[in-house]
Symmetry: D2
Subunit: 110 residues, 4 copies
């Protein structure tokens, strides 16, 4: 499960050099920050609706999918503003006192 | 950077057995899904505002902080509905063809 | 300025008897509550972004437009659930002690 | 039902001259645009959750209340940026071809 968000960060970085019509992410960058943030707002709403539906149905599949959409578009916003996923992960690790030791060990296996 | 979200998933799981007044997460669980989802909506708005301010100021610190808040509360919603962070990471890996090999290697170092 | 929201409530009521492909509102009703609420979330985000841009540009035109979109889609949600705009206006009047006398006078001119 | 939003617009205008600790609206103005827009985002989320709950319960009371909160805070944002409720009502009237005649008649009774 490790390294998925950093790998996604690499992909989002590469897309900055792609033509706007060559990928969804490149087209979002070209449309600019407001369009990216509209997607963050949309996906937050869809995740909230999916959670309410999951509460009744007991099926979390849409919620997982919409949460992935939400995180993804918030990573596009970060990338557009020059920031990597690791900055958010470090902030979460700091708050919850999650050790960097596992992280170090994991990187040595790369 | 690896393993931070799975470790946070463990913490969120443990908080389910805590008294409501013993931690912020336990109090959110006790208040129920609507209150958790209100926080997701709030933090999405705060992340959007922080991104707009970062666009003008060039300072991403608040954006990183608010994005951490957004991901965190979406993880609380997932946990409340019985789901782990790994489900979202796997969905993102699947979409972007990010290999699970690094992940396997990383887990062997745990 | 009076009577605009009640008149819009009448229009939203009439659209319930229209074919789904005959109007935007009829198509929203046919898609169901989640799609209507997704629009409420989208328009809230767009209104927030327009307000941030207005803060810098001094031009409120987009903000007025996006706020109209937000109110409109929240009226569609209300209509879909069997409620009229007057219910929200009455709630606002009640909170702010706004007299119903003007209202009565205005209705007599209809 | 007429004149409620314009009357609310007058109240929001008057609150600009009030001390920050004398009313909720005055305290929002003093905290600034971001805090006002956070409230718009919060209330949009709460209205969406209330609509989902109304779908299951058949009770619209919370939805009416939360929609009033949403409209109210969007009016505070407009007022903070120098705009009146009438601008949004006119935009809605224009889109739906709602006549201004009733409006004129209503004003003559004031």
């Amino acid at each position: 499960m490790s390294n998925i968000l950093p790998a996604l960060g690499d992909i989002l970085e590469q897309r900055k050099h792609a033509e706007a019509d060559s990928s969804y992410v490149a087209s979002l960058y070209a449309k600019g920050l407001n369009k990216i943030l509209e997607k963050v707002g949309e996906e937050a709403t869809e995740a909230i609706l999916a959670a309410k539906d999951a509460e009744h149905s007991g099926d979390n599949q849409d919620l997982i999918y919409e949460t992935a959409d939400l995180w993804f578009h918030s990573l596009v916003a970060l990338a557009h503003l020059g920031e990597r996923p690791e900055a958010v992960l470090q902030e979460l690790a700091r708050r919850f006192n999650i050790s960097g030791l596992d992280e170090k060990a994991a990187r040595q296996t790369d």
